[in-house]
Structures are given as structure tokens and as C-alpha cells.
Amino acid sequence: MSGALLAAVLRDPARAERLDAAGWTALLGVARAEQLIGSLAWRLDGLAKPAAACGILADARAAAEHGRTAALWEAEMARRALGPAGIPVVLLKGTAFVATGLSAGQGRQIGDLDILVPRDRIDEAESALLTAGWEWVKPDPYDDIYYRRWMHELPPLIHHERDRMIDVHHTILPLTARITPDAAALIDSRVALSNGLFVLPPEGMIVHAAAHLLADGDLQGGLRNLWDIRCLLDEFGEDATFLDRLAACAAQHGLTREVQRALRLSAHLFGDGGRLTVADRLYVRRLLARDGWGQPTRKLIELAFYLRGHWLRMPPLMLARHLWTKWRKDKEAR
């Protein structure tokens, strides 16, 4: 399975030197599908590669570099919109990695701008962004109410000139999830950057990444999240006190189980190995479910994790009502 090939080469780049043309084709195909081709390009820097692969990876690096510039500009735009009102803007995920110059940001593909703001200032933040040129993406009233009532973020906003999305979070998991992280404590732990923006401290970044990967959603694109975690551990794990801080942070937000699993999965796929539980093995199967064309495989496991994602997200009765409404709306649309 080619997902496994990608993980193996990310773990040990020298493996790429033994690949034949078909192996390279599969590796590049699955790396693109998992949005990890820029990270792979950085990882394989300086190794002998076939000329065609060199060209493709150089393009991927150039694209990621442009993405980095654009992401930092979006962050600055958010700061200009929210800064004057004194709303602290905490960058999350990819933008935070590149703004801090972390190895997790090298070649990282960055889509939307994700920020965290205090919940009691969320209305203010929304109107400031609307004034500054962002507008709502989803005109659907059900979705809008759903987001506002149950989600951990505002309905997505898009900038009318730059065509870039911003996700304004007030916490890191949906309000309907059983785990309720302490968003105020996360924001209090923020670290100031020199440009007036903020990021989470490294342990907060990992806890957020683990929550996003394992306590929310269906693990689609999960390999990239896990690679983020591996890079953060690689960069900060040397410090003996770091793992204690990470454990304390995870416990504080009720995410100990998720963080421990993320550590095990990262060690298994990208590190020195280590023991997996039976459930862990299912996660590994889901994370690596791609063929050499970049297509998803293992449909049954994919479906199981899709259902699990919804199950985590909301209580059963609410889930039934939600799916019913969605199904009805879908039918009307057709």
C-alpha cells in the first residue's frame, strides 16, 4: 500500500534512493493526495533523485514557499483587522508553524487561516472581519445556526478580494463533543511573536494537533496532522522537561488519551517504532489507506471512521436529527 511507502520514506529518506520509477510515481502520487509533497520535498533535500522527481519536488517546494508568503500575509491582514480592537489573534496549525519558523512548517501546505480568539470577543471579531472585507461563505440558514450553536468556530468567512478563507475558532473542539478543552487557559498560554501575533506554546500546538486528528473528524488527511506532531516532537522533545509539560497540558484539556495515542502512532510510523494497541492498528490502517494513484482505499475502514467522527462530534439524538435534516436538504437540492 502506497500510504505505507510515503510514511516509510518520510521516516527514513534514504529509502527513496532505492526506489525505481514506478516506486517514485506511487510515492509522489500519494504524497500529493495527502498534501505532504512539500514536506517530502524538504525531507529529501540533498539526496540523489531521478531528474524527473527532482523537478516535481522543486516545484512542490516553490509552491509551498509561495503558500508560506500568502499565509503570513493573511495572518497580517487578520492582525490589522482585529488588532486595533485589542483582540489577541492566536495563529493555529500551518500558519503558526511558518510564523514561528518551525520545521513542521517546512513545505507545509496551508489552506485556510485558522485563528483562536477569546470566546467573549467572538462577536466583536466577526464584525471587525466583516468590516475589513471578509464575508460569509455558507448562506444556508441551517448550517449557519449549526455553526453558531454547536461548533468551535464561526461559520467560515472568505475575503472578497483575496479569496482566502479564515476559520475563527473560540475553542479547539466542537461544543457538542464530550471532551471540553479549557480554551481560556490555551489562550492565556499564548506566546507573542515580534509582529504582534500570537501562537500556542509547543505543547499546546501538539495537544491541538492531537485533538484535531483523534478527537474530531474522520482522519481524512490525518497523515499530515501526524507528520506535524512528529516534527514538533522532533524539535522540542530533546528537552527533558518537555514531555512532562506536554503531559500536563494534555491532562489539563482532557486530551491525555488522544495525545498518548498520537505519540504512539507517530513513533510507529515516523520514529523508532514502539508498541501499538489493537485500536491503534485500526488508526494506522486508516491513515495509510491510499494507493499509488493517490486514491483512497479500504472503504469499510474509511466509513467506520466517518461514523466515528460524527459519533464523537455529537450525542446520538442530535446526530440523528442532524443527519435527517442534511439528508432532507440534500434531496431537496437534487
Binding site: W24, G29, R32, A52, G55, D59, H66
Partner: protein, 285 residues
């Protein structure tokens, strides 16, 4: 994927996979003289959304490394068109090495004539006609500008001719090799013409841009000098990756429009267009 093939067009390698044999067989036949890449730049997948749709009312969905959400599927009879659309889509959304101009191009004496315009302006037809009159075809859909050198690289894929242009070219290129006649496509009737042997043999040889034309079919003959500023704006609209290339894209385009003359030509028929092209080329290139 059940069936697959690889082919290289100019500097770009593709791998095309398909749930059906027919589209791959057609590609192999029409692209038989093209080289194969070792490692393709892009993957295209033609697939059935549900397993039984391989046989029951088969409809071809297009995907690949880069996809547009909600692109409509095509009937299996138009599988070749699906493959071509899939390859074009990878170029339009994924190409980062070259500045991609939605233009046709032909070469003579190492110099390139670029023609750009809206769909229906006649750029494909004019390029194909020039190919039959001693010019080397660079491509009928995309011209690739190398930001490092400013040179135009060819992308001589199958020439996609629509509606009336099919008969025009059948007369002009009686020896030509053709794909199947595809009727009732989203763009009317389409038939693909294989570029001549010379275009394929020389496809790795770039050419220095020398003249830019904006042809426009269906008007009385007229000619107008297009200032560099207007060329720049029109070419930003004719490029799908100008924004993605960022500063190198800006530099490449700014250099191009400053370094070559440009004319808009209106033409009532192809005879008059070809005469204008030859005259402008002799005077300006």
C-alpha cells in the same frame, strides 16, 4: 486502476488511468509516436463513480492530482475527451514550472508566434492551418513560458477542433490522422487531429517568442497595435497559473510583453487571417 498508459507532451509527463479499456486504447493509438516519461509529472484518473456504472450507462468521471469540485462526467463514447480534459486540468491547476498561457503557438526559424484569445476566436484552427503551411506547431491550447529564460516551450497535444473547424482542417490536412468524431459534447462536435511528425519530433526544442497576435474570427478584416499594458492584462487573464507563480510569473509576463510586438487582428475568413499572419510576421518578427 485497471488500464493505464503514460505519455509525454513537450516537457510534461502524464500517467492516465482508466476503469475502461477504450479511452486508454484510443490514447495509445493517437499518441503512439510520443515518448513515455519514466516518472510522470501528473496523474489523471477516469473512473466510474459506482462499480456498476462501468457497464450500466457508463459515465466517465475525471480526477487526478488536481481536481475541480463538481465537474460533470462524460459518456464513455467521449472517453478521449475526458482524458484530454483531465490532462488540461492538471496543467491549468498544477503547473508551477512554466508560466502557462492559454494560447496557440507555431515556430519558424527558431522564433515563436503566439496567438491568444477567447474560445472560438480561432487560435486552434489558425495554428493547425499554419502547421500545414510549413510552420512547426508548438501547441493549440497552451504555450509554456520558462520564467528563467523567457523561451516558449511547446505543448503539442492533440489539436482539438470544434464544429466548422473540423471540415476546414479535413480539407487542409487530407493526410492527417484523426481521433473519433465526438458529437453532442458540452462544446458541440469535437474531433482531435494528431500534430504532424515534425511537431512531435521537435517538441523538446523551445523557441524565442517573436510576435503576439490576438485573432478574432467573424469580423471585417481589421488590425490594431496592442500596447504592452493591454497585452499584460489580457495575458494575466489568459494564464491559469500567473497568480500561483507569484513574482517569477509577474517578471516572466512583464518581460514577454515588453520584448515582442503585438497586434489584434479581426478576420472574416481563414484565408484573410493567414495572409495577415504572414504579412505581420515578415514585417515584425
Amino acid at each position: 486502476m485497471r488500464h493505464s498508459t503514460m505519455l509525454r507532451i513537450g516537457p510534461v509527463g502524464f500517467r492516465v488511468g482508466s476503469d475502461w479499456r477504450a479511452p486508454v486504447a484510443t490514447l495509445n493509438e493517437l499518441y503512439r509516436d510520443y515518448p513515455q516519461p519514466d516518472i510522470p509529472d501528473f496523474n489523471v484518473r477516469l473512473f466510474a463513480a459506482r462499480p456498476w456504472r462501468r457497464w450500466v450507462r457508463p459515465s466517465v468521471h475525471i480526477a487526478g492530482d488536481f481536481v475541480l469540485p463538481e465537474s460533470a462526467p462524460l459518456p464513455l463514447a467521449q472517453g478521449l475527451l475526458a482524458a484530454e480534459m483531465g490532462m488540461n486540468l492538471q496543467m491549468a491547476l498544477g503547473q508551477r514550472r512554466y508560466l502557462l498561457l492559454h494560447a496557440s503557438g507555431v515556430e519558424r526559424d527558431g522564433k515563436a508566434l503566439l496567438m491568444t484569445g477567447e474560445s472560438g476566436a480561432g487560435k486552434s484552427t489558425l495554428a493547425a492551418l499554419l502547421m500545414t503551411r510549413g510552420w512547426r506547431l508548438l501547441g493549440d491550447e497552451f504555450v509554456l513560458i520558462d520564467p528563467a529564460t523567457g523561451m516558449a516551450h511547446g505543448f503539442p497535444r492533440l489539436i482539438s477542433l470544434k464544429n466548422e473547424a473540423i471540415a476546414v482542417m479535413a480539407r487542409a490536412a487530407p493526410e492527417g490522422r484523426w481521433g473519433p468524431m465526438l458529437t453532442d459534447t458540452p462544446k458541440g462536435t469535437i474531433r482531435h487531429l494528431v500534430p504532424d511528425a515534425r511537431a512531435i519530433a521537435a517538441m523538446d526544442r523551445p523557441a524565442r517568442p517573436a510576435l503576439l497576435l490576438f485573432p478574432n474570427f467573424g469580423f471585417d478584416a481589421a488590425e490594431r497595435t496592442v500596447p504592452a499594458s493591454e497585452c499584460f492584462v489580457r495575458l494575466t487573464q489568459a494564464s491559469t497559473n500567473y497568480v500561483a507563480l507569484a513574482e517569477p510569473g509577474f517578471d516572466a509576463l512583464a518581460t514577454l510583453v515588453r520584448s515582442i510586438p503585438a497586434r489584434a487582428i479581426d478576420y472574416p475568413d481563414t484565408t484573410s487571417a493567414l495572409a495577415s499572419v504572414e504579412r505581420l510576421w515578415d514585417a515584425l518578427a
